[in-house]
Structure formats: structure tokens, C-alpha cells
């Protein structure tokens, strides 16, 4: 389970922002702190990736992801947005309620792909997404995510 290995409890939070950019910045802050990558560099990479194609894959889920040479190990940030982000431009045009940012080292392509696949696989379950969105604390949401509930 790559998710359990790389997701830290303190990286799961309830987003304060209400727009795509605000939530991405909050998520970047979390990952920058965890990986000691320059925030600006990380945010630029995230925005460049989003400019190519939105990572909002529908059903309220977005998985922004970047690989950076500066990253020493994979890091994740999970932003819970109970009110939904309408401007995320998801493929089903529905508001996004969970944003999972994945940052991986450039040289660890396999781990990166496996992590992405696992996040998508886990959050494809509607009940789990519901549990996360309605969790009373980020800790509870974290436990749900890694299957410790």
C-alpha cells in the first residue's frame, strides 16, 4: 500500500479556499513543507500541469500530480472541500469535493504511477468519498482513507 506509506496524517486537511487556485495553493503548502521543495517551484509545476489538462476526473475527485527533480520522496496532500469547488473544470463539470495532490521524485516513475492508480482506485468508491467528506475531523478522514476505520 503506497498510499499508507506516503500519506501523513497531518497532510489531510479541510480546505479554507473556495476556488481551484486557492485549494491548489493550500495543498502545495502542505507538500512543500513535507518535501522541503520551494513552494513557488512546486506551484508553478502544478499550474503548468493543470494548464495541459484538468486533473478533475469527475465524481467530485481531483488528483493534481507532478514529478519534480527536487523531490526526494513522494508526498501527498488531501484537501477536503465539503462545499465543492465549482471552477475546477472537472470532466463531468461537477464541483470537486476531494483534492489529492501527489508530488513524486522525477526518477521514481513506477512509484508515482502506482500511487496515482491507488488513489484513484480507493476514491472511486462513493461510500468512502462520502465518509471522507462528512468526517468530523481530518484525522477521521485520514483513517478512512488508509482503511483504519
Amino acid at each position: 500500500m503506497e498510499l499508507k506509506q506516503y500519506l501523513k496524517e497531518e497532510s489531510v486537511f479541510v480546505a479554507e479556499g473556495t476556488t481551484k487556485q486557492q485549494v491548489l495553493e493550500e495543498s502545495a503548502d502542505v507538500c512543500a513543507a513535507a518535501t522541503h521543495i520551494d513552494r513557488k517551484t512546486l506551484l508553478e509545476a502544478i499550474n503548468h500541469r493543470e494548464s495541459l489538462m484538468s486533473t478533475g476526473i469527475g465524481q467530485g475527485l481531483a488528483v493534481p500530480h507532478v514529478r519534480l527533480a527536487e523531490a526526494k520522496r513522494p508526498a501527498l496532500a488531501v484537501a477536503i472541500c465539503p462545499d465543492g469547488i465549482a471552477d475546477y473544470a472537472a470532466i463531468d463539470n461537477k464541483p470537486i469535493t476531494i483534492v489529492v495532490l501527489i508530488v513524486a521524485p522525477r526518477g521514481r516513475h513506477e512509484t508515482y504511477i502506482r500511487l496515482l492508480a491507488e488513489v484513484v482506485e480507493v476514491l472511486k468508491q462513493p461510500e468512502l468519498r462520502e465518509k471522507i467528506i462528512t468526517a468530523d475531523t481530518p484525522t477521521r478522514a485520514y483513517q478512512n482513507l488508509i482503511g483504519e476505520n
Binding site: 495541459l52 489538462m53 486533473t55 514529478r67 504511477i113 492508480a117
Partner: protein, 592 residues
């Protein structure tokens, strides 16, 4: 470790080392210079020899050159062995009759024309029919020899392959034996005319021993060498044993007064015909060992040629000899080829390829000098000296004219460059010649679906990811995609940007292909992107893509194409000859 004090080294040793150094270094420089002028390298070696030897600055004492007589045998022995390796039985089955007719035509043509012309010249000069006849016979006999070394050196230098090349190799290899026969009988006849002791029957006996003895020794050595190399598997050991065997055969031939080239050539013929596969590698390794030996040999040929003190009338003999030898070889070849209906390229061009005259002729003239040294021609000039002078001067002229004529013959026949190896081919290309100049590319925003579509419609294994200015951003390889292919859930989430990897080393278009291939092998890479600095100077602009397996495939195709072209050339010649024969047999006239 023991060291030798400088004062202990004798000057004689030092001068031999210097001679070798001059010969190898200077010879290579000369060859390079002449190659740039598109003249065969062998002329360059000889020119350097002329410069530093008897006819030039006399940097090398003639005694030092004489000390190398044994080395010359070694060089001729190696040449004979390698020439033997080219003579497969199948060639003789196919062309044996034609080659023998051409051999007799060109050898006897040169013998008769040179013999008659120089004999008549001497008769009018000195009014002594006996000396004139003796001189004419010996000059004629020597004129029949063609130098296999320089002829074959040109064929190898220009990677020649085809029916003409095969014919030239066989003829120059065998006409040595013809020259020896004519010389043996000629000097015996000349000796008898001059009142010598040997009878003609004794002379024939000597010639038979010289030739058949050489064949016997060579054949036995070939069988023994084959038996030994069957049990040796390391190339270095095989080479050592082979060189050792060649040296023994050379020594035996010299001691028993037999033909060195014929002996080692027979050794090569036996080996290639009884164990073609095993001996193929052996010939390859001996050939790779031979270039320094050739260079020294040819430089010494040049250094030995001394014509400074030749009397003026000798130039008349030289002129007649060169002219009538050329004419005799051209006409004799044509007649021999025409009578036996040899392929047209042989009829037209084989004569041009048989002009070179080298070590064999010089060696025979020195022997003639010993045999006929006691008879005066005129004004203190002895018959033996006249022959040495004449052959030396004609060798100088013909050795400079001969190799370019061989080159012209194979070029006109379209056989030049047909025997190219994979390594030669690799060396001849730059990256730009072989790279895919417009490879299928991806943009960083291309979806997973688009990537798969591109993969399915192209056969590359590597896809550069570029921006709108063709600046290289990354690479997607089929191998690298394997991880993502199993993750169906990600197909809507991934774009090329997520999947691309940083390109490893890149190559420039003007990089030699050989360097690029070495780089890929050393770094275990399947591909190299070919780039040039982008206009803004920050990135690399994509120029093309070099994929290892594609390069290998292209080289294979090109090699096959050239081999087939050489083979087609040979086949079409045979076909033409067969059609002509059929037409004649059935009474049909040829088409105009």
C-alpha cells in the same frame, strides 16, 4: 627491472630501429597524402621509400636495406598466404579455364613483346646477337610477372568485389609461377647462349623443383596448420601458430631455393578449401596483423630502387620494356579472355589491372645479376647489372602507374566499394545520415488516448515530446509505458507530460555514427535523441532520433544491398556469357 645503458646500444641496432620507424611513420604519412589525392596508398609507401632511399636523400644506408632481405621474404610470405586465402576451389571450377587462358595470354604477351623489342634494341646497340638474345629473354621473362602485393593492396583498400576482382586476384597470384617458369627456362637458355654449364634439361628440372616443391611444402604446411588450429580456440594463440608456420615455410622455401610466394599461397589455398569456416577467422586475424609489414615492405621497395648512375641508352630499354610490357599484358589478356568468352568486364578491364611490377621482378633481376654478372654488354656495363638497372627503373615507373590503373579498372567495372564490411559502413556514416529525421513526436498535453493512438500507427519504440518550436522536453518509450498500461483507471488522468522521462545523452547530427553507437552500447541505451542548440540558446532543438535496433537494421539492409549488387554484377556477367554461348550454339545472331 634491468635497463640498458645508452652507450651499450650499437649504432647498427639503432639505425635498424630508425629505419623501421621511418618506414612505418613516413609510409603512413605518404599513404595519407596520396589517398587525399585519390592515388592508392601503396604509391605513397613507395614514394616515401624513394625519398629516403638510394634515389632520394639516401637517409638509409643501402647496407641497412640489404639487411632486410629476410624481412622481405616474410612480407612476401604473408602476402602469398593471404592471397591463397582468397582462392576458393569454387572460383577455379567456375572460372578456371578463363583465368588460365588470360594468365597465359598476358604472361606470354609481355614475355614475347618485351623480349623481342629489348633484344632488337640491344642487337642494334652492341651488334652482339648472343648478348642481345640473352638480355631479351631475361627481360621478357621478368616482364611477365605482376606484383600481387600492390595489386591486392589496391583491391583491399577500395573494398573491391566482383568477377573482375576475383579474376585479378587469381591471375596475379598465379602469374608469379608463370614468371618463375619463364625466368628459369629463360636464364638457362641465356646461360647456354653465353656458354654456361647448365643444360636445358637441368634447367627444367630446377624449375620443376622450384614450383612443385613449393606447392608440396605449402600443401603439407597447410594440412599441419589446419590440424593444429583445430585444437586452438584463442585468436592470439592461433595467430602466433599461423605466423610461426608461415615463417617455417618461408625459411624452407629459401633454403631449398623454391618460390616463397607459391609455397605460402598453397598453404593458404589448402587451408581455405579444407576448413573454410575455421580458417576464415584465421585469415582475418593475419590480415589485421599485416599492415605494418606491408608498409615496411613497400617503403623498402622504394628505398632499394637506385637509378641515379644509369647510362643514357638504358632509358631506351626502359621505355621499350614499359611500353611493350603494357601492350603485351593488355593484348594478351584481351585475347585470352575473348577466346574463352570470359565476362565482358574481364575482357575490357583485366589488362589494366595487371601492370604493377614489384618484389618478384626485382628479386628475379637480382638473381639474374648473379647468374649473368660475368658478361659485358658495352662500356663496362655487365649484362647482370643492365638487367638490375632496367628492372629497377621500370619497376619505379610501373609501380607508380600500376596501382592507379588497378583502381581505374575496378571503378570502371563497378566493383569498387562492393566488399564493404559492417565496420566500414559504420565508419562511413554520420548520425545525420542514418537518423530518422522526422520521427513521430508527442506534445506534453497529449492525452493517454492520443499517445496510444500514435503508438499503434507507428513502429517506433521511442517518442520525443516537444513544444511548438520543436524544443525537446522529454521522451516517452514503449518500455517506459509498460507500468502505465495496466492502470486503466488512469487513462483519463494522464498526459504525455506525466509520462515523459528526461532524455539521456543526446547526439549532434554531425557526430560519427560509430561514436553514437558506442555511446548507446556503453550506456545500455536503446535510442539517442539527435539535437542542436535551440535558437534562444536555452534548450535543445530536436533534429531526429537514432534508435539502436533501427540503425542495426539499416546497416544490415545496406550491407545486403551492396553484397547483392556485387553478386548481381557477377551473375549478370555469367548470364551474358551463357546467352552468348547459347546464341552461338543455336546459330542465332546477337542483338545489335
Amino acid at each position: 627491472m634491468a635497463t640498458i645503458p645508452l652507450g651499450v646500444i650499437e649504432t647498427g641496432h639503432l639505425s635498424i630501429l630508425l629505419l623501421l620507424g621511418f618506414a612505418l611513420f613516413g609510409g603512413s604519412m605518404g599513404a595519407r597524402l596520396f589517398q587525399k589525392m585519390r592515388i592508392p596508398q601503396v604509391v605513397g609507401y613507395i614514394a616515401i621509400g624513394l625519398l629516403i632511399g638510394e634515389s632520394g636523400f639516401k637517409l638509409i644506408a643501402s647496407a641497412d636495406v640489404e639487411n632486410f632481405r629476410q624481412f622481405n621474404y616474410f612480407a612476401l610470405g604473408i602476402i602469398g598466404f593471404l592471397v591463397g586465402g582468397e582462392l576458393k576451389g569454387a572460383i577455379f571450377k567456375k572460372y578456371g579455364k578463363q583465368f588460365m587462358a588470360i594468365l597465359l595470354g598476358e604472361g606470354l604477351g609481355a614475355f614475347l613483346l618485351v623480349g623481342i623489342s629489348t633484344g632488337l634494341f640491344l642487337y642494334f646497340l652492341i651488334d652482339n646477337p648472343t648478348i642481345a638474345l640473352a638480355g631479351g629473354i631475361v627481360f621478357g621473362a621478368i616482364a611477365s610477372a605482376t606484383d600481387p602485393a600492390s595489386t591486392i593492396d589496391v583491391l583491399w583498400e577500395y573494398r573491391s568485389k566482383g568477377v573482375l576482382t576475383t579474376g585479378l586476384v587469381a591471375i596475379v597470384a598465379l602469374d608469379d609461377a608463370l614468371a618463375m617458369t619463364l625466368y628459369g627456362l629463360g636464364t638457362a637458355a641465356a646461360g647456354m647462349l653465353m656458354g654456361g654449364s647448365d643444360s636445358f634439361a637441368v634447367a627444367i628440372g630446377k624449375v620443376c623443383i622450384e614450383l612443385f616443391g613449393a606447392i608440396g611444402v605449402g600443401a603439407a604446411a597447410g594440412l599441419i596448420l589446419n590440424f593444429i588450429i583445430r585444437h586452438l580456440h584463442q585468436p592470439d594463440k592461433t595467430l602466433t601458430v599461423a605466423i610461426g608456420s608461415i615463417l617455417i615455410v618461408i625459411a624452407a622455401s629459401v633454403i631449398w631455393e623454391m618460390d616463397v610466394i607459391l609455397a605460402t599461397m598453397t598453404m593458404g589455398v589448402v587451408l581455405i578449401n579444407i576448413a573454410p569456416r575455421r580458417s576464415k577467422d584465421l585469415f582475418k586475424i593475419v590480415r589485421s596483423f599485416s599492415p605494418p609489414i606491408y608498409v615496411i615492405f613497400f617503403v623498402l621497395v622504394g628505398a632499394r630502387l637506385g637509378i641515379g648512375s644509369m647510362p643514357g641508352w638504358m632509358w631506351g630499354i626502359v621505355g621499350l620494356y614499359v611500353f611493350f610490357r603494357t601492350l603485351g599484358k593488355m593484348v594478351g589478356t584481351y585475347v585470352g579472355a575473348k577466346i574463352t568468352k570470359a565476362p565482358a568486364v574481364i575482357q575490357k578491364y583485366a589488362g589494366m589491372g595487371l601492370f604493377a611490377q614489384g618484389g618478384v621482378a626485382v628479386g628475379l633481376s637480382i638473381m639474374a645479376g648473379q647468374h649473368l654478372g660475368d658478361y659485358e654488354v658495352t662500356g663496362g656495363m655487365m649484362l647482370g647489372d643492365m638487367i638490375i638497372f632496367g628492372v629497377t627503373a621500370t619497376t619505379l615507373i610501373v609501380q607508380i602507374l600500376g596501382p592507379p590503373m588497378v583502381k581505374l579498372a575496378i571503378r570502371l567495372a563497378g566493383e569498387s566499394g562492393m566488399n564493404i564490411t559492417r565496420e566500414d559502413l559504420l565508419k562511413s556514416y554520420s548520425v545525420a545520415d542514418i537518423m530518422v529525421a522526422d520521427p513521430a513526436t508527442l506534445s506534453e498535453g497529449d492525452s493517454f488516448h492520443k499517445i496510444m493512438q500514435t503508438l499503434s500507427t507507428t513502429d517506433a519504440m521511442t517518442y520525443p515530446v516537444v513544444d511548438e518550436n520543436k524544443t525537446l522536453l522529454g521522451i516517452i518509450t514503449v518500455e517506459g509505458l509498460k507500468t502505465s498500461l495496466g492502470q486503466q483507471s488512469l487513462s483519463q488522468l494522464l498526459v504525455a507530460y506525466d509520462l515523459m522521462q528526461s532524455p539521456p545523452d543526446t547526439a549532434s547530427p554531425d557526430m560519427p555514427l560509430e561514436t553514437a553507437m558506442t555511446l548507446m552500447r556503453e550506456q545500455n541505451l536503446e535510442y539517442l535523441t539527435v539535437t542542436s542548440p535551440s535558437q534562444d540558446g536555452d534548450g535543445k532543438q530536436l533534429e531526429g532520433l537514432l534508435e539502436y535496433r533501427r540503425v542495426e537494421r539499416k546497416l544490415d539492409h545496406e550491407l545486403l544491398r551492396r553484397q547483392e549488387a556485387a553478386s548481381d554484377c557477377e551473375q549478370s556477367m555469367l548470364l551474358k556469357a551463357a546467352i552468348q554461348k547459347h546464341r552461338k550454339n543455336t546459330g542465332l545472331t546477337s542483338e545489335k
